[in-house]
Symmetry: C2
Subunit: 221 residues, 2 copies
Amino acid sequence: MIVNLSGDIYEQLSLRILGWEYPPSHRLTEEGLCAEFQVSRSPVREALNMLVERGLVRKNARQGYTVRDLDLQEIKDSYDVRLVLELDVVARLCRAGVDGAVLDRMEARWTQLRDGLPALSPKAAEEDEGFHRELAEATGNRVLVRALGAIDSHIHFVRRSDITNTERLRQTCVDHLEIIAALRQKDLATVSVALRRNIEWGKTNVEAAIKDALVRAHLGR
Amino acid sequence: MIVNLSGDIYEQLSLRILGWEYPPSHRLTEEGLCAEFQVSRSPVREALNMLVERGLVRKNARQGYTVRDLDLQEIKDSYDVRLVLELDVVARLCRAGVDGAVLDRMEARWTQLRDGLPALSPKAAEEDEGFHRELAEATGNRVLVRALGAIDSHIHFVRRSDITNTERLRQTCVDHLEIIAALRQKDLATVSVALRRNIEWGKTNVEAAIKDALVRAHLGR
DNA sequence: TTCTCTTGACTTGTATACAATCGGGTATAT
DNA sequence: ATATACCCGATTGTATACAAGTCAAGAGAA
C-alpha cells in the first residue's frame, strides 16, 4: 500500500545507492527520475532532499544532485565515533544492568546463528546492526540511539560488505556472545575488549570492503 | 542578497522556534506561512521539511506541522551524550596535541571575556558553543564534529538560557581557561574534570533554563 | 591562435492548480 | 437520546507551468 510517493522514491533510491547500483558521483536529475518513476517533480524533489539530509546525495545549488562519493577517512572516522558511543552504551548497561530475559533472547539468537553459519550470510549485516541497535536501545537513551543510527546509516553500505567470509561471521558470533555473557556479569572490562575487537575489525577492513562492494556492483550488471 | 527562499524561511523559522516565539505544539500550516512570507507553498514546504529533519518541527501526515514540544528527558540525554563525545574530543587532543597558536588564541579570547564579563552576556551562548566546536574541529574528525553539531542544535534553545547570571559566566570562563591550560600540558585527568564540570552544570539547570526561557518569551510580547 | 561575448540547452527554483485525505459537525434513523 | 452515516471545510499530497540561473559551445574580433 502506497501512502506517499516521496517516501517510496526515497526508499528506492536509498536501496539503489546503498546497493552500489549507481557509481559514486553519479548524477541524478529531477526530470530523469520523474521519467523513471512516472511521477511529477514534487515527490522526486522531496525524496532527493531527504537523501541529501541523510548524506547519501550531494546537492549543488542550481546544478543538480550527485551520488555521494566515498571518503575513506570519513568512514574510518565514523567507526571511531561509533566505538566511543558503543563503549558508553555497554558502560551504561554494566552500571544499570540489563533485563535477563532480553539477554536470554539475544543469546539464543546468536547461538542459533553461530550453529547455522551458512544461513546467516545474506542477512549478516542486518543481524549485526540489529544487535548493536538493541544494545543501544536497552540504555533507554534515545539521543544515543539516534546518534548511533545516524552513523550506522552512513556506514551501512560498507558494513554490508564487511562480513564476507565464514571465519569473519564466526568471529562476529563469538564476539556478540562474549559481549552478552560479560553484560550478564556486569564485567565492563571484558565487554569493552570484546566490543572494541568487534568494531575495530570493520574499520581495518574498510578498504577491502569497498573494493569488494565495487566488484559486486559491477558483476551485478 | 537572497539566494533561495527555502533557506531564508528555514532560517527565519529556526530563529523563531529557538527564540521561543512559538509555544510548544504550536501549529504551523503551509498556507499560513505562505501568506506571512508572501511566497508560494513550494519553498515553505521545503523549509518545513528541513525543520522536521532538524527536529525542530514535527510532521503529522496529512494533518499538519507542529512546533516540537519539549522533552525534558531527551534534553538531559543529549547532555549525557554530549559529555561522552566531548570527553573523547579532549582525550584525542591530549593524545595528538593541539597547535600552540590555536591554544594561544583561545586563551586570549577567554581571558578577555573573563575580564569583561558584562559585555559577554548577550553572546554568551554563541561564544560557549564556538569554544566547544573549535575543540571538536581541532580533532580533525569530521564525523565527531557533525555528531556534536546535531546535538548542539537540539539543545541550543536551552543553552541560550543556560548562562544566566554573572557567577555562571565567570565559572564558564574559568572552566574554559582551565581546559585550555590542561590541554597545553596534555593533562587528560585535569581537562576531563573541568570539562565534566562545565557540561554537567548545564544539565542540572535544564529545568530552570526552560522556565527562564518561557518567562522571557512571554515578557517579550 | 586566443580571448571574449553571446546564445541556447539543461537544470533547478518558484508559483499555482487540482486531487486526496482527514476531522468535525450535522442530519437522520433507530 | 444515541449512534451512525454523510457532507463539508481545512490541509497536505501531487502535477504542471513558468522563471531564473549555470555551464559550455561556438561565433567573432583582436
